[in-house]
Every structure is written in structure tokens, then in C-alpha cells.
Subunit: 507 residues, 2 copies
């Protein structure tokens, strides 16, 4: 998922506090909500090797929407995983793009929980990894323990496998889930979920989701230094697009690459792209300058500012900067203001530039085509449709109507009330386990929660899960299996967290 | 060679003129300068298969300086080619980069001819070719005949092989070359000849070149529609460089790629590069805007304008546009003014842009690094040193001192007098063969002629050769072997052209 990795590294407020129990010993309080929790945990533990084997096999079978890799196969694999976990009714849901999967499990409970899975993963370059990205090798990491390393380990196959393991464990213990379940899965999350709406709108999914009290996507949310969990109440929207300048479409410059000496009499589509890009942002590249971009931007509320201030106090700026290789923030902002900017500001980011010759050394060509890959993050109350319209209108107005805007995906911002049942259940699960929770008003990253939080469903939707992992979209992505860090759950703790969460939602 | 392909397509002034003899039948006039020309031509013809085999083998063994491919091996191959052609004294000339080759052949003649070879070729992408770029496959091309297709076929191995074949033929006919020869070869022409000066400055090369009446590089200069030859009296200089913006060097933005959601609080090295690039040129990308860039630019002389006007009348604008996929020139200039701009204006061209994710689809990252590959063409009396200094000073003055400028190669502009012996010899050879010549005051492309034309050598230096080929730096590069176009020489005609040229220089 395009999740923001920021602000999850909390300063350890409880450091040195003897009161913090090692989490391997579950505090007795957790028993209150999950019946016979100790017995269940023994089942989960006994199934751990099978769970890891399942995760490793899934990592070995990646689906990559951007590259068209293993699309149909990935969906079938996903449906099989759901069936194996107990969903009797798990079916492929065709869309205009990669197929989704819709699985329902009606246990006759009073409550229904919606679950959102992505079965696709981000691209990877094996040359950048220290162990093969599809191998799922177990690697010991300092202060964490034994981790599985592979593409998708934390984003999102690890946490999703842990959720499915919770269902396997309940069945092995002779129980049914305490809530009805509806699982909606997509294979295009990493390209901006262009067809996920089509998955959710299928009548079987819709009928089940209408009864749900909320929807969540499994994630590994524990901070490695504190064990705390940040519960995020919303996320920015996004448009991903490519801006393409070409001689072919412009009618000036060459239709294909020609010898660079001709620049003296032939226009350059590359320079044209540079000029067009330059109009999209302020001189420092930090503020969108697209006509009307801020028209519907809602400033942070007082409550959002309070939560950010709390978050700033409880998170470690130096640690964040070290991990991200960042020395100073925009305008040299202090941590709290940087986090406010992170939550409140729309962005126009260049993910990639590609024109002409990109190999080693040079090549004397005047390229016929240049492209910029952009992602534009949207804050409430901007919408994807508005942003797409305004971007095109801006280019037109600035005289760059020939620049082609290919939007590959995107969705509106999403927001969930902190008082919603799903958020309160997450807080309760953590409280029982002695895990500190922090509310984050908005992730600067994006996930298609709007599919659930907007009409017609208008459901609360959130991300939740214990355990820890990192490296989403980066090399050496990992997920902790056997924790040797007393503040962070391993796989068994993560699985138990989902069991606790289902029982909490069932109340 | 970084040769300008423009203005070589002459309108056929003599179209339909019965006076134009098929060039397969060499007009008797050519006999005047080359003794027993008919006998020699039979020798050349008898050696044709060997010559083609030699060219094919050379194509199969490319040296690519930008990629570090076959550097030492390419130099040794070059030295062997020279020795096989009769240069008793052909030796590797080490430099700080790829080694050159210096070969001398003192036949005791009154005159000495300098010859410049490049043994390196441009990069290629086999996926773009219709036959394998290293195979040297013979392909029939309409209105041309049988052509060898391969990387380096015309740029520059075909013409160079034809020149060596002239020496093989003379020897087989029991003759020595009519001039002393000094051959200087480099393996870095395609990256801007960063060390060619070191090859020429070696004492053995210098001693021989000081006696030379001029230097030339073999080329295939015939226009396929007229058979005419454009003799180019100079060429622009060039700097090739990479501009790199990075968080590491800037001290702002990330030191490596991070999740794009962080754009809201972290600066972007990519946007910084875009802003810096934008200051280098006018808004339309067509006029350099680097501080002081035009200070030493010498306007076209009256004679240069006359030659360009003549050239414009004798060349086919529509044909040029069609071949280059160009609909209109800069500012919608008419042909003659476009050619004046081509000859007279310095350029700042973007050869390539590369930042972040460049594969299919998108990837939500904020890249830590962005690079633009530039070539800047220089006109008299600009110098490479001046341009490099001014580019750096400009970036500094505009506040972009953190952008790193990596200059990979380049040299000053070069000029040769139209009344020099070497140019007049070229005109004479063509005249005897009934081939129309056009003088082009300056190629918009570049070649390191300045190594010869500047002090201390101050020799006239030019490009010359009959025959035809095209596709330098592009896929499906070719060189005509057996012409079925009565206006264009095949390989044998090209070889004879070099024999005629040597006898002409010997007079």
C-alpha cells in the first residue's frame, strides 16, 4: 500500500518503565475479550511454520500490475488463499483491469467486518537487494529478531497472511470467526487502484459490505523502538500520471530521435516538457502552482492540529531523518510544522523522468519524446476528478495543451472518525495488550479507503495490525517473524492481534 | 563521428540531364590524375569480397567508450588493420582514457597526408534494429542497392575500411601510396574525444603530422538523390556533460529514494534539476540563456551566408523534413534561414533525462537524484574551456551551485579554408568524376578537427569520401556496397575515390 512511513517512530515514553511487560507474556487483561486466549495462542504458535511457508510461497509468486506480471494467476492464488482460510465463497471478480477477488463468510453473527486485501506488490530490482526479493529468506536483524525478507513481506502479504492465519487458528480450535467476514481484494493497489471500485461495486460484495461495521486492511503498525501503534484516521488521495511531450503530438520538434546537431533549427520536446513542468510548482518545487489547486483544500481542524502536536512530541525526528537520509525539511521547518505540512499540503511530486538516452555516458541525440511520471497527493476536500480536470486545464491555459496527460490511477482522500467502532476497537485491543496508541489525523500516503468511506457505503475504514516490518517499495523489505525485541510482536503476536480485534468488533 | 546529417540531400539540379554519366562508367577525365586507373579499379573490384569480409568482422567487434566495451581489444584490432594495410609502423598510443593508434608510412614522397580514424562506435539497442547490429547483414535497399547493415557501417568503419582497401589495392598492383601517410586513430570519438589530443601529441605522430599538407577522415558523403558531395569547411565544437542534482550533494531532499508521500515536507532534487535546467535556455528552449554565452560568438561572414544560400537552393527541404520527422523548423523559419541558424547558433540540447523510476507505469518515490545529459554545440570563436567555465559560473550565479556538472568530453569548433590544398583536392577528384560539389561553411555536428586545425599544427582538416550510407547513431545504420543507383558509388567507387584523392594530393 502507498502508506506513509513517517511519524511511526515514537520516542519511547515508557523507556525504563518496569511496568511495561514483555509482550511475549500477554497481560491478563486481554483475556477479557478473547475467550480462552491462551489455548488459541498455543494453536497459533503450533501453526507458525505453516503460516511462514504460506507467506514464503506467496512472496515467490508476485503480481506486479505496472509490469503486467502474473495478473490472472495472482488473483486465482488470492482466491485459493481465501478458500484455504475458510471462506467458502471466494470468487474472482473481473474488472476492466486486473481481476479482484470477493470472498464472504457468513457465520450468522450480529456483526460484520469488512477486510481489504491487495495481492499485488511493487516492482523490485534484485540488484539492489542483499537477499533475493522472491526468496523470502529468514534474516536476523539487530534489535528485531528473525525477519522474512522479500518483496511484499510487509506491503502487504505478511500482515495479510497473519490475518488469514487467525482464521486458520480459529478453525483448528474448533471455532468460527466471531463476526461475519467480507473480504475484497484487488491486484492494482500499487498502480493507484484504477479498478477497485469495480470490485466493490459487484452486488455480492456490496450486499455484504452494506452490513459491515467497518473495513480494515491488515498492516504491521508497531514502532520498533516503542512498540506503539499509530492509528491513522485518513489518508491523502492521489493521482498518478505521466506527462508526455512528443514531436508527434506537438507538431514541432522531431517525431523520433534525431541527431542532436539539429537542435539549432529544430524544437525540442524535452525542453518543452521541462518548461511545462516548471509551471506546475513554485520555484522551490514545494508548492503546487496549478491553477485553482487550493480552491477546495480544507485547512487542518483544531483537533487535527492537536493530534499532530501530540504526535510530534511522541515521535523521534532525528530517527526519522536518519532513516530517510534527510538533513532538513522544506523551509527548515521544525518537526511539528513539518508534520503539519505533511498532513495538510497537497503535493506535485516527480517520481521519474525519462527522455532520450538514459544509459552510461552520453549520446548525441535530440529526443522525439520526453515523459515525467508524477504523483499528486490530494487532501480533503479535493477530489481526484477535480484534480485531473484542473491539471489538464492548467496545461491548456499555459499553452501546453499538446502535453499528453496519461492518468494511470488515483482516488479521493479518505477520512474515518476517531469515534467510529473500528477505530475504538483498535484502541481497545492495544490497550488490553499494554500497547500505546497514537492517533494520526492523516497519512500523507494514500490508500483507496475512499471506496469504503465515500457514498454509497460511507463506512469507517482503517489500517490495523500488530507486529512490525519496513521497506515497502524499497530493497530488503521485511516483516518480523520471531521478535527478540520485547516491545514488538512477532508473527504469533500479530495473528493474536487479529483474533482479539475480531472478538472486539463482535461485542 | 558526430556528423551533421543535414543539408546533404541536394535537390537534383541535373535531374533528367542526359549529360550526367552513369558513375559506374568512370568518365575518362579521372584518368588524368590516377595512372592506370582502369587496371587499379579491376584490382579493387577483385578484392571486394575480402574488403567486405574485413568490414563485417570489424562491425562484429565494436568498441564503445561510453560503456567501456572492448577498449584495449579495439585498439589492438585497429593497429592490426593498419599493419595489414601496409603501415609497417602501427603502434598503440596509450592515453589517460582509451588508447589511440599511431601509424606512419614514409614512402619517400614529397607530400604527406594525415588520416584520422575513429575505431569506436555509438551504443545500440538491438531491439530497435531490423537485423542484428553486429551481424553486418547484406540488405537490399530500394534506390540504393545492396547495403551492409550494422553499427558503425557508415560511422565510420565502412568509409575507413574503404580507405584501407585503397592501400591494399595499391600494394596488390605493385605500387606504393603516392603520398607519405600518417594515421592517427582514437577510440573515444563518440564520447567527445576527451583524450585524442594526447594521441596526436605523441612525438612520432607530431613529427609526421608537421610535414602533412592536411588531414582528413574518410566518410561517405554522397547524397543518394543527386550523387553530389557536400564539402564541409568546419564544424561546431561541443561539450558533452551530465548535470546531476542530488540530496547527497545539495544537503536538502533525501540522500536516496524515499516514499513519495514525504514530498509534502521534503525537498525534491528532481524539481531542483528542472528549475536549474529551465535557466539554461529561453522559454522556448531554443536559445541558450547561460550568462555571457554569446560574448565570443562570431556572426556568419558574407561568404558563409553566400554558401548557405547556395546550399539552401541546392538541397531539398521537404526531403530533409521527411527523413527527420520534422514538420516545421524553430520559429517556422524558411529553409535558408533555418540553415543559417543551424550553422551559426550555439545550442544547449538535452540528450537524455533520467531520474527516479523510469520503467513501465509509476512508482511512488521521491527520488534522491536526477540527471540531465546535455550536449552544448559551440560556434567560432567560442572555446570549450570558456563554455565549461561559463556554464559552471551561471549555475553558481543562479543559486544552483550544488548541481554537479560532469563534463565527459568536448572540443573547440574547427575551421578549414576553402582554398586549402586538401579541400581543393577533394573538389578536383569530384570534378573529374562528374560529381557535383557543394561547399558547406560549417557542420552543425562536431568532430575533433580542432586537434589539427588549431596551434601548434594549424593544418587544414576535412571529411571526405565517395559512396553513401546513413543511420549514424540510429538503428539500421548502413553503407552501400553494390549500388544500383547510378548517381551513388558502391564500395569499389568509394575505394577508387580514395586512390584518386591520394594521387591528387601527391601532385
Amino acid at each position: 500500500m502507498s502508506e506513509d512511513a513517517s511519524a511511526t517512530s515514537r520516542r519511547n515514553l515508557m523507556a525504563g518503565a518496569a511496568a511495561l511487560a514483555p509482550i511475549a507474556l500477554i497481560p491478563g487483561g486481554a483475556e477479557a475479550a478473547t475467550p480462552n486466549r491462551g489455548a488459541l495462542q498455543r494453536v497459533v504458535e503450533s501453526q507458525k511454520d505453516d503460516t511462514v511457508a504460506r507467506l514464503r510461497d506467496w512472496i515467490a509468486n508476485p503480481s506486479i500490475a505496472a509490469e503486467g506480471v502474473n495478473i490472472q494467476g495472482g488473483a486465482e492464488y488470492m482466491a485459493r488463499l481465501a478458500r484455504d482460510a475458510g471462506f467458502a465463497n471466494a470468487q474472482i471478480a473481473p474488472t476492466d483491469g486486473s481481476p479482484g477477488v470477493v470472498a464472504t463468510w457468513d457465520v450468522g453473527a450480529a456483526k460484520t467486518l469488512g477486510v481489504y486485501f491487495m495481492y499485488d506488490v511493487k516492482q523490485y530490482d534484485p540488484a539492489e537487494w542483499t537477499s533475493p526479493p522472491l526468496e523470502g529468506r529468514m534474516v536476523d536483524k539487530p534489535n528485531l529478531g528473525s525477519c522474512i525478507v522479500g518483496r511484499g513481506a510487509v506491503n502487504q502479504k505478511g500482515p495479510e497472511t497473519a490475518f488469514l492465519a487467525a482464521l486458520h487458528a480459529l478453525r483448528a480450535a474448533g471455532r468460527q470467526p466471531p463476526v461475519n467476514l467480507v473480504l475484497v481484494c484487488e491486484g492494482e493497489e500499487e498502480i493507484g487502484s484504477p479498478h477497485f471500485q469495480q470490485v466493490v461495486q459487484q452486488e455480492r460484495a456490496m450486499a455484504a459490505l452494506r452490513r459491515a461495521d467497518g473495513v480494515f486492511i491488515p498492516s504491521a503498525s508497531q514502532d520498533p523502538s516503542t512498540g506503539g501503534v499509530t492509528l491513522t484516521l485518513g489518508a491523502k488521495g492521489i493521482i498518478e500520471c505521466e506527462l508526455v511531450s512528443s514531436g508527434e503530438h506537438w507538431g514541432r520538434g522531431p517525431a523520433h530521435d534525431i541527431h542532436s546537431s539539429n537542435k539549432a533549427m529544430v524544437d525540442s520536446p524535452v525542453w518543452r516538457l521541462v518548461a511545462a513542468l516548471r509551471t506546475l510548482v513554485s520555484e522551490d518545487g514545494n508548492t503546487p502552482a496549478i491553477d485553482g489547486w487550493f480552491e477546495n483544500v480544507r485547512p487542518l481542524t483544531q483537533r487535527e492540529r492537536e493530534l499532530i502536536a501530540l504526535n510530534a512530541r511522541n515521535t523521534n525526528e532525528a530517527d526519522w531523518k536518519r532513516r530517510n537520509g534527510v538533513r532538513v525539511f522544506i523551509d527548515d521547518l521544525p518537526w511539528q510544522q513539518a508534520l503539519e505540512r505533511l498532513a495538510s499540503q497537497p503535493t506535485v511530486n516527480i517520481e521519474g523522468l525519462v527522455a532520450g538516452y538514459t544509459g552510461p555516458g552520453g549520446k548525441t541525440i535530440l529526443p522525439g519524446r520526453a515523459a515525467a511520471k508524477l504523483d499528486l497527493r490530494l487532501v480533503p476536500n479535493m477530489t481526484r476528478a477535480e484534480a485531473e480536470r484542473k491539471l489538464n486545464a492548467h496545461l491548456q491555459a499555459k499553452g501546453f495543451g499538446d502535453i499528453v496527460v496519461n492518468v494511470t490511477g488515483g482516488y479521493d482522500p479518505t477520512e474515518t472518525d476517531e469515534h467510529s467502532r473500528i477505530v475504538q476497537a483498535e484502541v481497545s485491543v492495544c490497550r488490553r495488550l499494554g500497547i500505546e496508541t497514537t492517533l494520526n489525523p492523516r497519512s500523507a500516503g494514500s490508500w483507496p479507503g475512499t471506496v469504503f468511506t465515500s457514498a454509497p457505503l460511507s463506512l469507517p475504514a482503517a489500517q490495523f495490525g500488530l507486529g512490525h516490518g519496513s521497506g515497502a517499495h524499497a530493497p530488503d523489505e521485511y516483516f518480523v517473524i520471531d521478535s527478540n525485541n520485547r516491545r514488538v510482536m512477532g508473527l504469533t503476536g500479530a495473528v493474536m492481534g487479529y483474533i482479539d480485534f475480531m472478538y472486539e468488533m463482535a461485542r
